[in-house]
Subunit: 436 residues, 2 copies
């Protein structure tokens, strides 16, 4: 498998290229494909010289492309709503269903770069039916949250990680990249403007959804010549309002979420719609989520829309081990995943835990359960932080995951939730929590 690396052309444009390949002038290819120059109707063996000429022309335009304006936070304009919404009772909040008064909107074009960022009243998007987002899934997004601390301050959690991932996602589908610091700044302005929507209670927050879509109006399949970056905000309650409830998973072996050389590690819309049917299959048998296995070895990858952590006693060494799948291109690079790993190395490592990013087969998980070596299993994601797993249905058997009958969460999951929440709400001073 080839790994991708990020290749920066300039501060505003980032592209991914296969590791160990010479950087190719994607930006120019984009422009020439759009103008019809890049795709000569035919390249016969006689046209190799012509092709070289074309590549030289390409390099010239690349220099021009780098002068395109980036996102300029200082130019932000704000148009306030004239019909502010009534606040809902916190207890009635449903994830991602109710939104604040305003949204952030920034257009991009291949000719002019990023346009003026605008905060505007929350409103419908009006798009031509030929717009490429409707046909070819030119869309990627992020999920992040703003929290109110005990002093009334508003905090984001590791926003730089979201910005980094957004750029990896957009570059992978030929959408533009964006200055993450500038975007974080204007997201902060949106959050401050709509701060009355953030419930002050612990466990509540404002879910933020930065989204980038291709807006070119053509059915030709090519890199979009225009895009829209928008951010909407939805007040949300705790995932487990009455305390943890351990979930049951169904291991999925008949459908595959991601593949080496694919895009499973990016937060693309394309990774989500195809996952619903296996999810419905699992739901029809009473399971909350499905667990994606990969390959003949049935490696454990992800659960539903979360990364998965498995705590067990290692068969060989007897040492306690916290395991999650390595970032091999098929695993979403979760911010919570990274936070759990970092905290585990820092706080569990000294207590004798081995923290492993490694492949683990479902049969190994089942074996650990049978041999009494299973400690606990939990999902990790922005929505729930951690989501304890009671058992996994696998090949017609239930693999118990270490919880006692009356227990809804293991010790590690509980600790992780408390540690991460403590940072998110500013109880613990930590550079991960950014006051805006």
């Amino acid at each position: 498998m080839t790994c991708y690396r990020l290749a920066y052309r300039d501060r505003r444009h980032v592209y991914i290229v296969p590791e160990a390949r010479v950087m190719k002038p994607f930006q120019l290819a984009r422009r020439q494909v759009l103008t019809g120059l890049a795709m000569p109707r035919a390249v016969s063996s006689q046209t190799i010289n012509a092709s070289r000429t074309w590549q030289r022309a390409f390099s010239a335009s690349a220099a021009a492309a780098s002068t395109l304006p980036g996102l300029d936070a200082s130019k932000l304009t704000v148009t306030k709503t004239t019909t502010p919404k009534e606040l809902m009772d916190s207890k009635d909040l449903v994830f991602g269903k109710n939104f604040t008064d305003h949204m952030l909107s920034v257009e991009w074009t291949a000719t002019d770069g990023w346009h003026t960022p605008r905060i505007i009243p929350y409103q419908n998007l009006s798009l031509d039916p030929s717009t490429c987002v409707f046909h070819y899934a030119f869309e990627c997004f992020e999920g992040m949250k703003a929290y109110k601390d005990d002093n009334g301050g508003i905090r984001l959690f590791r926003p730089n990680k979201n910005m980094e991932r957004l750029n990896k996602s957009s570059a992978r589908i030929a959408l533009p990249t964006v200055d993450g610091d500038a975007l974080t700044k204007i997201i902060g302005e949106l959050v401050k403007l709509d701060s009355r929507f953030i419930p002050a209670e612990r466990g509540y927050s404002l879910y933020l959804r930065p989204t980038m879509i291709g807006t070119q109006k053509t059915l030709g399949v090519g890199p979009p010549g225009s895009a829209l970056l928008f951010v909407i905000a939805s007040p949300v309650g705790p995932y487990y309002p009455t305390g943890f409830k351990a979930i049951s998973l169904e291991a999925t072996d008949y459908a595959v979420r991601a593949w080496p050389g694919g895009v499973g590690d990016k937060k693309l819309g394309a990774n989500y719609a195809p996952c619903i049917l296996p999810q419905l299959e699992a739901a029809s048998r009473g399971f909350q989520q499905n667990l994606w296995l990969f390959g003949e070895e049935e490696y454990v990858t992800e659960v539903g829309t979360m990364n998965l952590f498995i705590a067990l006693k290692n068969k060989e060494t007897g040492q306690k081990e916290l395991i999650t799948a390595p970032l091999d291109g098929t695993i979403l690079e979760g911010v919570t995943r990274d936070s759990v790993l970092t905290l585990a190395r820092e706080r569990l490592g000294p207590k004798g835990w081995n923290i492993s990013e490694r492949k683990i087969k479902m049969s190994e998980v089942a074996e650990a359960s049978e041999e009494g070596r299973m400690i606990e299993v939990f999902g990790a994601g922005t929505a729930a932080i951690v989501s304890p797993v009671r058992n996994i249905s696998y090949r017609g058997k239930m693999v118990e995951c270490g919880l006692k009958e009356d227990q809804e969460a293991g010790e590690i999951a509980l600790q992780m939730k408390n540690w991460i929440e403590g940072i998110q709400y500013g109880d613990e001073q930590n550079p991960w929590s950014v006051v805006i």
Copy 2:
């Protein structure tokens, strides 16, 4: 690998399920997920009986679901534009950039089924920014064409194949299915209303783009409770206005388009955006398209957005063989692919050709070229019908594909184009061509 099969619940609802599995009540699962009933926050080992009760409840609702209205062509309403467009010069047409006066629009909701179909003036879609099509790629489409015959009649080419595939695509991402005959009928009405946009010249046609998108306004990841089916129409010219131009391909080994257990055989938006970057890579080195290889064996799968056909002399038997990749779940089920196969079996088979749907390694293709056994290679798709291939860049070498230096198309490609075009324009009477 598990194969999927289509399982019809009733005439309006079709779902795909893994082969050899008992049909599961997806429709009810969908409704219960939407209402929050299907996903109990926790299913502990004690709640298995409750889960069974829930499945009974499901079956009851399934009966109710089957009474949802299907698409009723007789209810079609037509609102004509008051600002008809000026016709463009046929020579200035660019694929998928200019559209006719009208569009078809049909809404679907999980509670009310298919609503009244409407032909309306071509217009923007107005959608809430939280609409699931923007975030999770709930979108699928078809590509088909309407042709004017010499008698002024208007014809569609195998529309039933497009309808069949649309339903396979939509069902795979938990969008509704639709009565294909009813949809073909109202598409016909749209085409007739906008028939002045269809150029009468040979090679020209009206490209039709049926598209289905999820329209539920929520960031929760689940089956959409509402959808929009729309059809837009774009007059298009011949792919090769001045005769065939053989293309050069670059074999892509670092990125993978589709995989077993994935969705590469469906016409989902999700399959397209991730393909642009490898396409740009190939373009940056002067190739018109990339050729997707799969697996360690480097099996030849598809080229850019077309199926691929390889004509060679079989190494063992010496027999002439026309090969395309089998429908193993990673190959788009192209209508042109099927047409080429059918015509080849009917018209080339008696002339000694062996027509094969089989896996072929890129190394076998290179070997055939080196040994002088290569006859010709061509892509097949709705846009170009056939697209002759001059050579393929593979592991730093150019694999020549049987064309002479001054030759832009092989004999089989030429014949196929003539045969298929003859049917499409009604020169040859054939049930594939449907007069509307």
